[in-house]
């Protein structure tokens, strides 16, 4: 009993703030019917759960590595676009797998060059110049190979071949009929193209190792093994060539799958691409700048713009939608369902429930699936943090990563892994969000803002804080939107005041300001 009182006294401001938030919520639901507020809460939770998927990674990365990754929203967006591509045009992704697999295979040979270059010791002048020549040559060969590789793909600029049209084909289920498989141009052989990519990327790797060694001097090569890079190379190159050989049957198989299965594959592919992109970004761009936080923020800010431009170049400037998987798409027989069982039986897109004497329309994807995914990820990441050795290392590293390293743990590798996982979560959020809210080149920036506010409210590096902050952001947004329709009866006004759409983002910022004024370290943040 005294214990409870003590905790209460210690966190008095927190409890009062939570009480005021609860009061605000109660006031907000007074102004609308039961049906309206239940639906609004569900929508808020859905937005909150997407925001959480981005905020969780952002918060763990910030806590562990002190990196505020402003590119996180863009990576969320890239996740969505990759997911769309895998879902709507699996044939293009299969085409792309071979050349990109070969690039990775060529780069995987990098550890081999270290001991090799340590043995030859050219004159300083040559040592400085040859990597640049190798780099140019490598980039040229790789680019030549990549541009000549057979690829059947949509176009961002040609409407007839644009993602918008392909989405319509996907909704009608006629993608496979409209795809024209790509082949090699006459006079070109696969051996030549694939060889150019492989050799070119190997040269790039060689050049990079050469540059590092000419700058820092030859590193000790005693501990590097030769079997592992060779094995990685063999597996990657073998896989890439295997996909090339079975390209047509693999594509046909993907087209024959139900949209439910294809959607799961799309989620997995987007999340894995996110993990890969994140790890690559940490190793190549973030790692050299750990001592310079300002440069790091500028770097991630710049990457956010580059990523957004890339998305515009590949998928076009116009936004489009992603068809919902079959389980959430049926609007015909037996729909809308009147219960969860009815939905699962008929794969309905909506459920109609009687709430407070009114008919409430609940979308099965937006208001049930999205929330469920958020909840599952919330629990899984929590288990990872609390129960696994990696989680223990993360929690310890948030406080003192140098001490963790002093215990004999390779903290750099943990950083790469966590950065990758954080970006993977954001990419996962992107695919989950795409069928519900559509794809656009602004989706990343919007969500980054929301999740930054969620972090500030929750306490920057606190995991429960990120979750609570994300839910609060989602709820506030949706309630303001709903009140934009209903209007709020304010004293001294003749007509109810209707918040306009621009107030939606502003409202969360105002809430953030108020919370930070009362609790400078956020709801669950630690006092510095």
């Amino acid at each position: 009993m005294t214990n409870i009182l003590q905790t209460f006294r210690k966190n008095r401001t927190l409890f009062i703030t939570l009480a005021i938030l609860a009061l605000l919520f109660l006031m907000a639901i007074q102004g609308m019917s039961t049906r309206d507020w239940v639906v609004t809460v569900l929508r808020g939770l859905a937005i909150g759960s997407i925001t959480f998927l981005v905020a969780a990674g952002l918060s763990i990365i910030l806590g562990l590595m002190d990196v505020l990754n402003l590119a996180h929203g863009t990576l969320y967006m890239i996740g969505a676009y990759i997911g769309w591509s895998m879902y709507v045009r699996p044939d293009s992704m299969v085409d792309l797998a071979t050349p990109f697999g070969l690039v990775l295979a060529g780069l995987a040979l990098m550890p081999l060059w270290k001991p090799l270059l340590a043995r030859v010791d050219p004159r300083p002048g040559i040592a400085r110049i040859w990597p640049w020549i190798a780099l140019l040559l490598g980039l040229g060969m790789t680019a030549l190979g990549l541009t000549n590789a057979p690829l059947a793909i949509w176009s961002g600029s040609d409407y007839q071949n644009s993602p918008i049209v392909w989405t319509q084909f996907a909704e009608a289920g006629v993608v496979a009929e409209n795809v024209q498989p790509a082949t090699f141009a006459p006079g070109q052989s696969p051996v030549l193209i694939w060889g150019a990519i492989l050799l070119g990327s190997a040269l790039i790797g060689l050049a990079v190792v050469g540059m590092i060694q000419s700058r820092r001097g030859v590193m000790s090569a005693a501990r590097s093994s030769t079997t592992r890079p060779l094995l990685t190379f063999a597996v990657l190159a073998g896989l890439a060539l295997l996909i090339f050989v079975v390209n047509t049957p693999l594509t046909n198989w993907l087209f024959s799958l139900s949209t439910n299965v294809l959607f799961v594959i799309a989620i997995a592919v987007a999340a894995l691409v996110g993990v890969g992109l994140g790890s690559l970004m940490e190793v190549t761009l973030i790692r050299p700048l750990y001592a310079r936080a300002i440069y790091q923020i500028m770097l991630t800010f710049g990457l956010a713009f580059i990523g957004a431009e890339l998305v515009r170049a590949i998928w076009g400037r116009t936004g489009f939608t992603m068809p919902k998987p079959a389980l959430f798409a049926n609007t015909g027989d037996g729909c809308p369902a009147d219960s969860i069982a009815g939905w699962l039986q008929n794969s309905c897109s909506t459920i109609v429930l009687e709430i407070g004497g009114q008919r409430a329309l609940i979308r099965t994807y937006n208001e049930i699936f999205v929330i469920a995914v958020g909840l599952v990820v919330l629990i899984l990441v929590w288990l990872l943090l609390q129960r696994s050795r990696l989680g223990m290392i993360i929690r310890a590293g948030v406080q003192d990563s140098a001490m963790v390293e002093a215990l004999g743990i390779n903290v750099r590798r943990v950083f790469t892994l966590v950065f990758g996982l954080g970006v993977g979560l954001a990419a996962l959020g992107g695919v989950i969000a795409a069928p519900a809210y559509g794809l656009s080149d602004a989706m990343g920036a919007t969500l980054l803002l929301g999740s930054l506010i969620a972090l500030a409210i929750g306490g920057l590096t606190s995991y429960p804080g990120a979750a609570a902050g994300a839910i609060i952001v989602g709820l506030v947004q949706q309630f303001i939107i709903k009140y934009g329709q209903l209007g709020i009866n304010l004293p001294f006004l003749d007509e109810p005041w209707k918040p306009t759409p621009p107030i939606v983002p502003a409202s969360t910022i105002i809430l953030m300001i108020i919370i930070l004024l009362v609790l400078p370290q956020g709801l669950f943040g630690r006092k510095e």
């Binding site: 223990m392 929690r395 002093a406 215990l407 743990i409 390779n410």
Partner: protein, 234 residues
């Protein structure tokens, strides 16, 4: 007598600041060596340079016959060097059990060592489930030492174990360090000369980033002039 650790004229910079301008130290296997000197002399930086947390720019660090300078801290630690940082730097968000568990290098380290650890620090067994924040200063210091005992370390670097502790606790801590030094060599940084002189068999004095004198502790205790000159009042 073989040296388990040898530090040969290391120079260390932190940012632009030249902190160590030539530190030499010989640490014979077995027993305790104390690094002595005034505040800011470079004792803590010497420990961190040995471990690679602030890597030396020149000079050698030889552990068990192998040069280790330039290796990354986790590689150096994995060779069998444990570190007890100053200010009782335990992991506050982890429980006592997790603080010990995270130090494992091989599966089963903690199970094998727990009897020894709890014999040295019986308090910790009682507190095993509590989060680090709930421990008193003395208990945190005990946990920090215990954490370094979990893996098979052949050398312990202990920074200011008596700092800010009550006299009774200092007594217990000294007793624990004396007992663990029977199996593990210890390099001890200690402001409190009385504590250092009672624990260590050998000493190295560091003054403005240089090692200026070293030898047997028994001789130093007699040498009031040196103590006065380098360590202030004895």
């Amino acid at each position: 007598m073989t040296n388990i650790l040898e530090v040969r004229s290391i120079q260390t910079y932190i940012g632009q600041f030249h902190i160590l301008e030539g530190v030499d130290a010989q640490v014979p296997a077995g027993g305790i060596v104390a690094l002595l000197g005034r505040n800011g002399a470079g004792k803590t930086t010497t420990l961190k340079s040995i471990l690679g947390l602030t890597p030396p720019r020149s000079g050698q660090v030889i552990f068990d016959g192998v040069e280790i300078q330039g290796l990354r801290p986790f590689e150096i630690a994995a060779l069998g060097i444990g570190f007890v940082p100053e200010h009782r730097a335990i992991f506050r968000d982890l429980s006592v059990y997790e603080n010990l568990k995270i130090a494992q290098r091989k599966k089963g380290d903690l199970e094998r060592k727990s009897a020894f650890i709890f014999e040295l620090f019986p308090d910790l067994q009682r507190l095993i489930k509590l989060p680090g924040t709930h421990l008193s200063g003395g208990q945190q210091q005990m946990l920090a030492v215990a954490r370094a005992l979990v893996p098979d370390n052949r050398l312990l670097l202990i920074d200011e174990p008596s700092e800010g502790l009550a006299p009774v606790i200092i007594e217990a801590m000294m007793e624990a360090i004396r007992r663990l030094s029977a199996t593990t060599t210890v390099v001890l940084v200690e402001q409190n000369f009385i504590v250092a002189s009672q624990l260590a068999q050998r000493y190295v004095i560091i003054e403005e980033g240089r090692s200026v004198q070293s030898g047997a502790m028994a001789d130093l205790v007699q040498d009031k002039a040196t103590i006065q000159r380098y360590l202030g009042a004895a």
